[in-house]
Symmetry: C2
Amino acid sequence: MNTKQVGDKLVEYCRKGKNMEAIDKLYSKDIVSIEAQGGPEMPAEMRGIDKIRGKNKWWYENNEVHSATVEGPFPNNDRFAVKFHYEISPKTGPNRGKKTKMDEVGVYTVKDGKIVREEFFYSM
Amino acid sequence: MNTKQVGDKLVEYCRKGKNMEAIDKLYSKDIVSIEAQGGPEMPAEMRGIDKIRGKNKWWYENNEVHSATVEGPFPNNDRFAVKFHYEISPKTGPNRGKKTKMDEVGVYTVKDGKIVREEFFYSM
């Protein structure tokens, strides 16, 4: 698959809420993930598919997702961008149960038909 | 200005349609600009603020902008992303006068309070 095709697949999975399946099918085992900001459960930079699976599992276990809107993919050579809009309620922490809007941009790098890098842009 | 402040300023200028002023005020003279795809009037990679001014001038002279929606900035360390939605009509070429929607993501890199790199993600 070329970059655009990988992007189309990722967006398709994310629209269906199948984000874990997107990781299984589209991510390289050597994936590098860069968050805008780290935290105790989620360092800003993580490497390897097991860590990325763990991070996503943690996020889904700790947030209730009310709705997700996914725009894209927007390609540029070996990369593509995706715009996400979520409405969530954290299940833990100071904002527990509080409905929150989240907007973020993901930039993904593709090599040999697999996503090798994901970078997330958002305000905290 | 830090990355977030530069991003806020850029979004403010773009929302007012003052994109040329954004370049004058926020861009480094050594700016590097990467488009998703190049063309005869617009190579994919351009360097230096005069070339970038020329590119933008060309684009505005050759497209009528009906509306522009700007979302962001979405920061990540020394970079920020912005999501643009335009409704334009090209003034020349095969789609002359045809109202067209354009969605794109810009990723900007900031160094010493100035934008040193811009990268645009979109489908053609």
